[in-house]
């Protein structure tokens, strides 16, 4: 089963297949509405109208965010969906802030659901039975994989011991597989 391939999207369907990224880099600036560019091979007409240059800097530029502060970002726009993997919190906030600014300056509505910077999806959208079951499943899985019971895995200052146990468990698994 293949991992997700990059998706090509023409958000507004304004332009047929346009010029390559190299040209866009030099020819388009600021917020010209007729520009289209591509970032990592993805057509990004609508985003380009926000400011291709700025956006590219935001998405591609900063690579210092540690992996654990990166998360996938899913954008729903006008019936099309794009998922970006490894977007840092900072970048995500910057993108959303820009989108909001453009929207309000164009006279559009900004609909903010829950915590604006927690992403499009919130657990309130999920049926309750599923949320509860998911919670239980993830919790029990954590316990199972770190070899600890619910009491040892408590909140607060249990950090060190938990990490220690997890590390121990990992090396235990490695040994198991080597022996197998």
């Amino acid at each position: 089963m293949p991992s997700m391939a990059p998706v090509e999207l023409d958000f507004l369907g304004l332009r047929p297949a346009a010029a390559a990224a190299a040209a866009a880099d030099h020819n388009h600036h600021g917020s010209t509405t007729s520009s289209s560019s591509s970032i990592r091979g993805m057509k990004t007409s609508a985003i380009a109208s926000i400011g291709a240059h700025q956006l590219r800097r935001v998405i591609v530029g900063d690579v210092e965010a540690p992996p654990k502060q990166q998360a996938p970002m899913t954008v729903f726009y006008n019936g099309a969906v794009a998922t970006f993997d490894g977007v840092s919190q900072f970048k995500a906030e910057a993108i959303m802030k820009m989108a909001m600014e453009v929207t309000t300056s164009n006279g559009g509505r900004v609909v903010v659901r829950g915590d604006a910077f927690a992403g499009n999806l919130s657990k309130d959208d999920m049926p309750l039975t599923r949320t509860k079951s998911l919670q239980q499943f993830l919790q029990k899985r954590k316990e199972r994989l770190s070899g600890l019971g619910p009491y040892q895995l408590g909140m607060g200052p249990g950090g060190t011991s938990r990490v220690g146990a997890a590390t121990t468990n990992k090396s235990f698994h490695v040994k198991e597989e080597a022996a197998a």
Partner: protein, 310 residues
């Protein structure tokens, strides 16, 4: 849309959608379903009549009872799922959707995927990504990083997770069939050729036994990576915990009587009027070989044979 091979975005959408979103094996007409259902339709109404039909069925203790079934059985069950039935007020359609579940898992030897081909590696990355997303969704953005999401996601874990997004419309699928027939179904070893895509998928994910038992307001499903043959004892345990239809079962559990005696306290005398279920226990041993499976012999849909001697 095929959840088994699709990417993160579809998987997350599936988790967000209400139970109205049907999947290939749940759809009635040619797998017609949309993955772009960003707007969640209103959830179907719970069947009001069902509560009256199952006065003893207690949702509060459902999780405990599922755990008791799994942990307290001699059989090695991998998971238990309770499918909740509901009625769509607008269309009159009957729907079975995720109600609750308990995952135990199986021995490491059996569950760990090896060897890790590039395709399997990519699949693992996909699963871990989804798990990470689900984890942050549940715990919120401020959650501490969870080392557990770096561990391999086993086939049975994945099957259990995907099950949360599934539903069965108007008696489709094994759970749907059990509900509509009012009869339990026990498939041990013939799973790969069962007349239900989810059952066949279960086989691909390492499961070898699947049981669907209509209870109260829905269907209890048990699955195992072992071949578990039906016994009167296991049936009695299911009945005592969950009831067999009108009865709700009991919690805390009552010790079931000796297998030869049917337990009227479970609420129904269904065991006595249910010879087709007992018939499944008589399936010949040769069915252990998957290649020789005779699905029709293992699924209780046809007329029952003569009742067993008392």
């Amino acid at each position: 849309m095929n959840l088994w091979t699709d990417d993160n975005a579809s998987m997350m959408e599936a988790f967000m959608a209400s139970a109205d979103l049907t999947f290939p094996w749940g759809a009635t007409a040619g797998g017609g379903n949309s993955s772009a259902a960003a707007a969640t339709p209103p959830p179907p109404q719970q069947m009001p009549a069902a509560a009256a039909m199952a006065p003893g069925f207690n949702q509060d203790t459902l999780q405990q009872r599922l755990q008791a079934m799994i942990e307290g059985s001699r059989e090695t069950w991998t998971y238990a799922i309770f499918w909740q039935s509901s009625l769509d007020a607008a269309t009159g359609a009957s729907l079975l959707g995720w109600g609750d579940g308990y995952y135990k898992g199986c021995d490491d030897d059996k569950c760990k995927q090896r060897p890790l081909t590039p395709a399997a590696q990519a699949e693992q990355e996909h699963r871990k990504r989804v798990l990470r997303e689900l984890n942050s969704l549940i715990s919120g953005a401020a959650a501490a990083p969870d080392e557990a999401v770096e561990e391999e996601v086993t086939d049975t874990e994945w099957f259990f997770l995907v099950s949360m997004t599934q539903s069965f419309l108007n008696g489709t699928g094994l759970p749907g069939q059990a509900l509509f027939a009012g009869q339990p179904t026990w498939i041990a070893s013939g799973l790969s050729s069962a007349p239900c895509e989810r059952a066949r998928q279960a086989y691909n994910f390492g499961l070898r036994t699947m049981v669907c038992f209509p209870v109260g307001t829905g269907v209890l499903e048990l699955g195992s990576t072992d071949v578990v043959f039906q016994t009167a004892e296991s049936m009695a345990k299911i009945r005592s915990l969950f009831g067999g239809g009108a009865g709700g079962g009991s919690w805390p559990p009552v010790q079931p009587q000796a297998p030869s005696q049917q337990q009227p306290a479970a609420g129904v005398d269904q065991a006595e009027t249910d010879p087709s279920v007992l018939w499944l226990a008589d399936t010949p041993v040769m069915d252990i070989k998957d290649s020789l499976s005779h699905p029709s012999a293992e699924i209780s849909v046809s007329k029952p044979p003569p009742p067993p001697p008392p």
